[in-house]
């Protein structure tokens, strides 16, 4: 095999996610009454970016062979916090943003510490921390409300040069400034290695604990970025349990659509971002097809089912049945 073939194989998951997204988005805009306009893109981007952040956060944990069922709650908690803090003068606003991100990182680090040093299974540990984070969110915002610096909010959910959605640019910046350095760092590699085979990684002398802790912490940070954007998008904080849960579950779907292996060690947050955008487009398709309102949830479920079943197609190429059990 040539170099490029290996590279292609490495990025296959991400590219597939990109392809799924592009196809869906073309179907969507082609049928949209308003068509492929800056407004439509901006609307789709603002909605998609929120899940993209949460999915990116989920990815960081999933590559360590963990799962974060509290990610939606961190998203809510930081949203509620931002609706208190991200207000006022530019300086106050900046301070508020920093605090919100720090709290997100702290939540992530707490998850990480419990999983790594407490040696608990991520799935239950994060069910429990999720309840705690939601409780705190509810303390902060017993009722929806609060406000945000609207200049900042409008700037980040608006358009740059009247065409490019600012939220997409922010997303790209986060990928470049957080994900790429992380995934190429020694700790990032340790996180991958721990996800692929923890014993081997340990025997190879990798800093697995620090790598995993960093992954969890950054996950919390990125979820907090999602929370911030939620605040920018809605101007409020809202501790809505169902919504937090929905984001958690959606993020898992997005991560899988994005070619990230739930068994750890494989995949990229960039794939997950496309997975998230594709997943969001499933919802958008409701606009362009004239469906009976009662059939809409079923339609969404079926599209989701179809999208994840795409992965099963590879199965028919498997000639050696042992490959089923990797």
């Amino acid at each position: 095999m040539k170099d490029w073939e290996y590279r292609l194989a490495e990025h296959r998951g991400t590219l597939t996610a990109l392809a799924i997204f592009v196809v869906m988005f073309i179907i969507y805009t082609a049928n949209h009454p308003a068509g492929f306009t800056a407004n439509v893109i901006q609307t789709a981007a603002n909605k998609g970016v929120l899940l993209a952040f949460v999915a990116m956060a989920q990815t960081m944990v999933v590559i360590t062979a963990g799962i974060d069922l509290s990610v939606g709650m961190i998203f809510l908690l930081t949203n509620c916090l931002a609706s208190w803090l991200v207000v006022g003068s530019p300086l106050e606003t900046a301070f508020g943003v920093l605090v919100v991100l720090a709290v997100g990182a702290l939540c992530g680090a707490t998850n990480g510490a419990i999983v790594i040093y407490g040696r608990l299974q991520p799935i239950v540990a994060t069910i429990a921390t999720g309840a705690v984070y939601f409780g705190i969110a509810l303390l902060l915002r017993p009722f929806p409300g609060g406000s945000v610096n609207e200049h900042l909010a409008d700037a980040l959910t608006g358009r740059i040069f009247a065409v490019v959605p600012a939220s997409l640019v922010a997303l790209a910046a986060v990928v470049l400034l957080i994900w790429v350095p992380f995934s190429r760092s020694v700790y990032g590699r340790a996180a991958y290695a721990a996800g692929s085979s923890e014993t081997s990684a340990y025997m190879s002398g990798m800093p697995i604990r620090r790598g995993k802790l960093l992954a969890y912490t950054l996950s919390g940070l990125v979820a907090a970025l999602g929370g911030l954007f939620l605040t920018f998008f809605t101007y409020t904080g809202d501790a809505a349990f169902a919504s937090g849960n929905a984001y958690t579950l959606f993020s898992i779907a997005a991560v899988v659509l994005g070619g990230v292996s739930l068994f750890g060690g494989k995949g990229s947050a960039i794939g997950a971002v496309f997975g998230a955008l594709a997943f969001r487009t499933i919802g958008d398709l409701l606009f362009v097809f004239d469906l009976d309102p009662l059939w809409q949830p079923l339609f969404q479920g079926l599209i989701l089912l179809a999208a994840i079943s795409l992965g099963a197609l590879a199965l028919f190429r498997v000639r050696n049945r042992l490959e089923w059990f990797l």
Binding site: P33, L50, P142, P144, T236, D238, A240, A242, P293, L294
Partner: protein, 352 residues
């Protein structure tokens, strides 16, 4: 773009479009030529109330006189996620709909959308979960008033005060808070000694039943009960625990009313009140009126559908042979909206 003119009342159909309060503004939108494109942006769909609401909306839009005014009526349900609903409304605005009716997942999150709708000259009407704004039309249920009604009912039936079980709804929602405040306001105002045990039933029969059972076992017995929803479950829990029947202020579920009718003699004195899912029809009607350039209040006050002991009538206030799950109060005679819930659910069955 076309902003509504703020005018003085009264509204076009004052019986139906009753202003929320004396200082409610009245809007007069520039008249648009019909037929109109109207969209319903619903959030959550997977419970009976919402399904009944969507069915009512479709049925209303299909009524010949309404259908004649509509070019298109589109419904989209976006689930529990607020941003998805916001995006849905944005999409409707971008696609040139004339009016958008919304059951908002969050009352405060829609400020940017309201701004955009206003700029685009789109009429935005919120109902059930309304919007925290002066710039869109709200079709309102007096949630606090409902709480007050239940509170008063208990005060009336427990002249000496007593121990009351309050089964609350979903924490953090304004509906829950308003109703809760209403209840407590009246209990306190009575000056009697009321001890209130609160549990969270989440407007769900199963959850309400479980927490009621727990409360009865640990803090019971109670002298009165009030429930915001899941009331059928609450009564069921009382029956299971052999708790004596006591006065009850609750919602309008058919199951609850069936129990009220059956056990009134044993002490289950009920006040059943709420506003049914048919308020969506009022919202649509309001939207059409606004588009037609008629004067409408910024905040419409819906009448409560109240039935109190001993007035439960089979076939009108409750339906013995029908499902427990639907909300009975489904008509607004003052608005000419007269669906019975049962008719809605049946009719659609034939439609499918």
């Amino acid at each position: 773009y076309a902003e509504p003119e703020v005018v003085s009342g009264p509204a076009a159909e004052p019986e139906c479009f009753a202003p929320w309060s004396a200082d409610t503004k009245f809007f007069k939108f520039p008249k648009k030529e019909g037929p109109y494109r109207i969209a319903l942006a619903n959030g959550y769909i997977a419970n009976t109330w919402r399904i009944q609401m969507v069915q009512t909306a479709k049925a209303y839009a299909a009524q010949p006189d309404v259908a004649a005014k509509l070019k298109e009526f589109k419904v989209v349900s976006t689930g529990e996620d607020v941003p998805a609903q916001i995006s849905a409304i944005n999409n409707f605005i971008d696609s040139g709909y004339d009016a958008i009716v919304v059951n908002a997942q969050n009352p405060t999150a829609f400020a940017p959308v309201i701004k955009r709708a206003k700029e685009a000259g789109v009429v935005l009407v919120a109902f059930d979960n309304i919007l925290d704004t002066q710039d869109a039309i709200n079709v309102n249920v007096d949630q606090k008033g409902l709480g007050q009604l239940w509170g008063e009912w208990l005060v009336k039936h427990l002249p000496n005060g007593g121990k009351v079980l309050e089964v609350r709804g979903v924490a953090g929602t304004s509906v829950d808070t308003d109703r809760h405040n209403g209840i407590h306001e009246r209990l306190q105002a009575s000056g009697k000694n009321f001890e209130v045990i609160e549990v969270v039933g989440k407007w769900d029969d199963g959850v309400a039943q479980k927490v009621t059972a727990d409360a009865i076992a640990t803090s019971g017995p109670f002298d009165g009960i009030t429930g915001q929803g899941g009331d059928t479950g609450i009564v069921q829990a009382m029956i299971d625990a052999k708790h004596p029947f006591v006065p009850f202020g609750g919602e309008t579920e058919n199951g609850f009313r069936k129990f009220c009718a059956a056990h009134a003699a044993d002490g289950l004195k009920c006040s059943s009140a709420g506003t049914g899912p048919a308020q969506v029809a009022v919202a649509i009607k309001t939207a059409i009126a606004a588009l037609e350039g008629q004067v409408v209040p910024q905040s419409v006050k819906l009448p409560l559908a109240i039935v109190e002991d001993p007035n439960f009538k089979e076939g009108q206030d409750y339906f013995q042979s029908e499902s427990d799950n639907f909300f009975v109060g489904n008509s607004f005679p003052t608005c000419g909206i007269n669906f019975s819930a049962q008719e809605i659910m049946k009719q659609s069955k034939e439609n499918q």
